[in-house]
């Protein structure tokens, strides 16, 4: 390799390596204000607005919207809201403030969690979730929740996927801690998803989404005769969330022009007239969103670099084909002994190439389809299957050698392998019925014990060894990558 070629290779290796390393170490977003990701899933108590931003919950006073703070930090030591806390529902019970929210746990499952506060500002979340929803209705937990006062208790509404759409379920509690399931409350017509639901003493409102993505509102009792100046704005702004909140207000959630979710507050509640709160911004939003984060773009760049690699590889494919043909044509001309093999290579490559190209050019032609089936399904597949079939025979001979009992180690290996093999197939039950007093109960208990032993061997002993190999190989791969990236591979 010439010197400039070496320099070029080194520069590319180092440059691309550096991008990937920076993409790993540098966050994709730097800085930005607390609610840079937008506001959604909110609740309003008095003049204090609680809302979700990104994966956490924050709050602000409507009188001083510039002052915002996080309700509480996510902690690496709480497992039920490890990855996120969303959709706050706030209640004042006696002198205590309580917040029911959706926690995203370490296991990625979403559960109902509770936080408490003395003043509504400093919040302390409970260490464990208060309610885990039934796994048969939503195995991973709900996508959205809301808790509202109803009569002498609290109703929890939550949404979960059902046959390709989203439907609503409900649960009830007297104290926000012990919940009892109430089942489906709104299925709506087919192919329509219910996104959110809210209620007050006189009416119920929900936001529905049709299969084509359009959203609409359902009000109960029917509000078609109601004159409401906000209906136009709600449709124009593509409002996707509605919530009746305390103080005869209504909270709306919608997506702003910069694709960040926003909240709007209206005075009045359906079926009364609703109008946007005085002081709302021109687009209806209750407050300006924070400064967005600076995007490093390293992740995008590393993705684009992968595309570049793909393009280079495709060029390589073309060059490889030309190189292959040149090499074998030269062999046919100059090497009389092996020219037969080269001829077979050229004929095979050209036959496959022509058939595949013609199949694309004339897709309806049965000749090329049949030729494709002959080459692919009748020749290449059986040849591959033959090689794979050889594996079975080789496995037996290798296993025979491994399990010859010459040493203590080999004896242990043989015993364990026999146990795993016999408990893996119905043979275990068959043997148990013969040797285990002939009774079916004995057979079943021997089978169960064998299965347990096999599971333990595979998941404890075998996994531990595999992981130890994997850890060593992982560290070795890092060291090797560093040597190559920094070009410190010695020359032997």
């Amino acid at each position: 390799m010439k010197r400039y070629q070496k320099t070029l290779v080194w520069a590319f290796t180092f440059g691309f390596g550096l991008i990937w390393i920076l993409a790993f170490f540098v966050p994709s977003e730097i800085g930005g204000d607390l609610d840079r990701a937008g506001m959604y899933g909110g609740d309003l108590v008095g003049k204090r607005l609680y809302y979700t931003t990104g994966n956490t919950m924050a709050m602000m006073d409507l009188d001083r919207t510039s002052l915002r703070r996080q309700m509480f930090s996510l902690s690496p030591f709480r497992k039920d809201d490890y990855y996120g806390a969303k959709f706050p529902s706030i209640f004042r019970i006696d002198d205590k403030w309580k917040c029911v929210y959706l926690g995203i746990g370490k296991d990625d499952k979403r559960r109902i969690c509770l936080a408490e506060s003395d003043d509504g500002i400093k919040w302390t979340p409970k260490s464990k979730a208060v309610y885990e929803l039934p796994s048969e209705t939503c195995p991973g937990g709900p996508n959205w929740i809301r808790v509202e006062s109803s009569g002498n208790g609290y109703s929890l509404y939550y949404s979960a996927p059902f046959e390709g759409r989203t439907i609503l379920y409900s649960a009830f509690s007297d104290d926000l801690i012990n919940w009892s399931e109430r089942g489906v409350i709104s299925k709506n017509e087919e192919n329509v998803s219910v996104l959110t639901l809210t209620q007050n003493s006189k009416s119920i409102a929900s936001v529905d989404r049709a299969q084509d993505g359009t959203t609409s509102f359902t009000f109960f009792p029917n509000g078609s005769g109601i004159q409401n100046t906000l209906f136009d704005w709600m449709t124009r702004a593509k409002v996707s969330d509605i919530r009746f909140v305390s103080g005869n207000h209504t909270l709306f959630g919608y997506i702003g022009v910069d694709n960040r979710p926003r909240l709007a507050v209206a005075e009045g509640q359906f079926p009364q007239k609703m109008s946007l709160l005085a002081g709302s911004l021109a687009d209806g939003s209750v407050a300006e969103l924070g400064k967005p984060a600076f995007k490093t773009g390293l992740n995008d760049f590393s993705g684009r670099a992968a595309v570049f690699v793909q393009i280079v590889m495709n060029f390589g494919l073309g060059m490889g084909l030309i190189s292959l043909l040149v090499l074998h044509i030269r062999r046919i001309r100059k090497e009389p002994i092996n020219r037969g093999y080269s001829a077979v290579v050229i004929v095979s490559v050209m036959a496959m190439l022509v058939v595949q190209v013609m199949r694309q050019v004339i897709p309806d032609s049965p000749i090329w389809q049949e030729a494709h089936e002959l080459l692919f399904f009748n020749m290449q597949f059986p040849l591959g299957a033959t090689m794979f079939g050889l594996l079975a025979a080789f496995l037996i001979s290798a296993a025979y050698r491994a399990f010859r009992i010459r040493t203590f180690d080999a004896a242990v290996l043989t015993a364990v392998a026999t146990l795993v093999l016999l408990t893996q197939v119905p043979t275990a039950q068959f043997l148990a019925s013969i040797f285990g007093n002939g009774g079916s109960e004995t057979a079943a208990s021997i089978d169960a014990a064998g299965s347990e032993a096999r599971t333990w061997l595979l998941t404890v002993v075998n996994d531990a060894v595999q992981r130890s190999v994997a850890i060593g190989a992982f560290v070795g791969a890092i060291a090797m990558a560093l040597r190559i990236w920094l070009s410190i591979e010695p020359k032997n």
């Binding site: 690496p76 030591f77 060593g472 560290v475």
Partner: protein
Amino acid sequence: MDVPWSMRILALLIITLILGMMRSAKRREMFIRRIPGIDAMEDAMGRATEMGKPVLFVPGIGGLDVMQTFAGLSVLKWVAKQCDELAVRVIVPILNATVVAPASEIVADSGGEVRFVSQDEGAFAAGVIGTLSREEVATAFYFGGFGFESLLMAESGRRLGVLQIAATADYVQIPFFLCACDYTLIGEELYAAGAYLSRDAVEVGTIRGQDFAKLVLLFLLIAGSIAGVIWSGSLNPVEGLLGR
């Protein structure tokens, strides 16, 4: 989604340890434990010389995006150099086309042959088995990442009486090589082989760095196990700090 900060710190710690050991290895000689499989490589080369038969070297089936391939190529450097000194022919069958150029560069001085066999694993195995048989290979080295063809090649080599040494980090293939080969290097030993053979100070330092990095991971494993027992039923602090 971004990588958790704990993982960034851990990766940085591992890289610092490896780089630190590389630097210190330049100043003082470091001990490196003996690996029987690598010690046997010189004998295997001697066998090929005495028999006057070629050596076969397979650098795995991965491309240049697989670290095991690079580890295999670093051993190929040593094999090619030995073949050059002992006047033994080395044959290098290749499955992944991207490996042809670097492998050719490595064996260029020793007059070795790099053969692109096929991109298909079954066809590649058939090609290697054919080479083992037709060329009457004396010694075969399998260094790199492998799939199901590992057993096809190694078992055929054993039947033909070829002295075989294998090294792979693909733990599913390790039992096959253990059954069929004379010596097998397991997991990380593949990455250590190049350093062991070259005795280059920087490479030896890398292995020492790897050992220290493994000590860190071992400490985390023990701490996690203890914390898992103490905080059973809830999130233990080690798991919590390490993130996803």
